[in-house]
Subunit: 278 residues, 2 copies
């Protein structure tokens, strides 16, 4: 496994990688979710590149950029174990040179859900992903369904900019009790950790209701809110039953939908989602 930092080193290494090249972009502090992306890339591609970059521009000024967990030595060990060929650890000064002022923006899709709660978040994501794609020139890139909106936004960006990369979205990986794996789960104290599966419980409860005929979007949102509100440590930031393509909130009876939510546990914000219908 080769580790590079500068873009010029990356380009040099990239030039010799056999086709196809799969990229797994990460912010490090890797868990089973990330590793499932690596495994999928390893299965599908001749070459696997992983990037580790805690991208400052996708964090709001009051968010957890400084506190975001980091453990590069452990990450490198895991990536090597999972057969990654190249790890790129970009330097912030090269990603955001002095005077930086160029942003890639996906307009409508970035306005909903996470974008509404985290202004500027997707502008940071789409800009850094464009830069990762431009530097690595992957044939495929792997993202997790956990960040459902992110995948929709990035797919739109790839279409709109005609980027020659296929976006592969992999299923959410969960802890044995159903909590979606996230680097931010380490923020939870033991009580919060115990309460955190309330997100998937709420999603599953709405999904079950839907499977048993409750197909009214508002009712499904109410089921989720009610479930979360029964958990005293949890407080709902939003719940959503949205069109999976446009991310617009649905009303009335639905045939398919993206159920999603953001829930706060004191200072820890967790998200989760489930796709329902066909």
């Amino acid at each position: 496994m080769i580790t590079v930092k500068t873009i010029s080193d990356l380009r040099q290494v990239r030039a010799d990688l056999p086709y196809q090249v799969g990229l797994v972009p990460t912010m490090g502090f890797l868990h089973g979710g990330h590793l499932s992306l690596v495994d999928k890339a390893r299965e599908e591609c001749a070459s696997v590149v992983a990037s580790i970059f805690v991208n400052p521009t996708q964090f709001g000024p009051k968010e957890d950029f400084g506190a975001y967990p980091r453990d590069i030595p452990q990450d490198l060990k895991l990536l090597e174990q999972h057969g990654v060929d190249v790890v790129w650890i970009p330097e912030t000064e090269q990603m955001y040179p002095p005077g930086f002022q160029t942003w890639v923006k996906v307009e409508e899709l970035s306005r909903h859900l996470e974008g509404e709660m985290r202004p500027g978040h997707f502008q940071g994501v789409t800009t850094v992903v464009t830069k990762l794609f431009t530097a690595v020139q992957p044939d495929k890139a792997y993202f997790g369904q956990k960040d459902a909106q992110q995948s929709v936004v990035i797919k739109r960006m790839v279409t709109d900019l005609n980027l020659p990369v296929e976006i592969v979205v992999c299923p959410i990986k969960r802890e044995p009790d159903g909590l979606a794996m996230s680097s931010r789960n380490v923020y939870l104290n033991p009580d919060e950790r115990k309460a955190a599966p309330v997100l998937i419980r709420a999603l599953k409860k709405a999904e079950n209701a839907f499977l048993h005929g409750a197909n009214d979007a508002e009712q499904l949102r109410e089921i989720m809110i009610e479930t979360i509100e029964n958990e005293s440590l949890a407080s709902v930031q939003y719940v959503s039953c949205a069109n999976p393509d446009t991310l617009e909130e649905l009303t009335g009876s639905i045939q398919r939908g993206l159920l999603s939510m953001a829930v706060n546990f004191r200072k820890t914000r967790l998200i989760d989602n489930v796709l329902i219908g066909k």
Copy 2:
């Protein structure tokens, strides 16, 4: 010379082009200015690609997108004569697919001068240029100094997005009477055409004053305004003496500057510029 329309055809042809590949992006209706870019690319690169695309998103709603002059057969003849290897004529539907909503924006530099007069113009330019670069993957790309701000904005974008392309800016080509070559010059009626060299006269007058010790930015702007106002068919939209790097308007005594202006002749808007100092 090969002519392609779709991005997939372009990519196929591109894959076989010997290094280095030079790109000359144009909106067609080619004149000596464009051809000087082609000649420069031909001189410096093993392969020369030219694109012809009247990019709708860089025109304002009240601007001349519909009226913009077009003559593809003549363009192809000229490009062939000047030794271009590949001409790419993108289709609007492929450049702007249904639901298109992704924009590349260079923020501060796009706000001044042309950007102030033409809101959204540079967002259209930087988005389409990103797409041209992504599709063609040129090693070098050639732009004219006539659109001085455009070159500054695109260079910033290339730095910020770490695009692997070198931007080459070529000098303004002028008619025998000094009028900067422009596809829009055909809009001028004979009287206006006769009056149009007032732009370069005004710029030269300010430059001469500067060379003779008049280094006050405000005074230089006044010289330019006065010259234009003496021409009854011309009306000033703006004159500027700006920092050539930041494009911010200068005040007080200066050592170097970008003198630039936009001048209206009835419905025809002309721009020109001169760099002064070192």
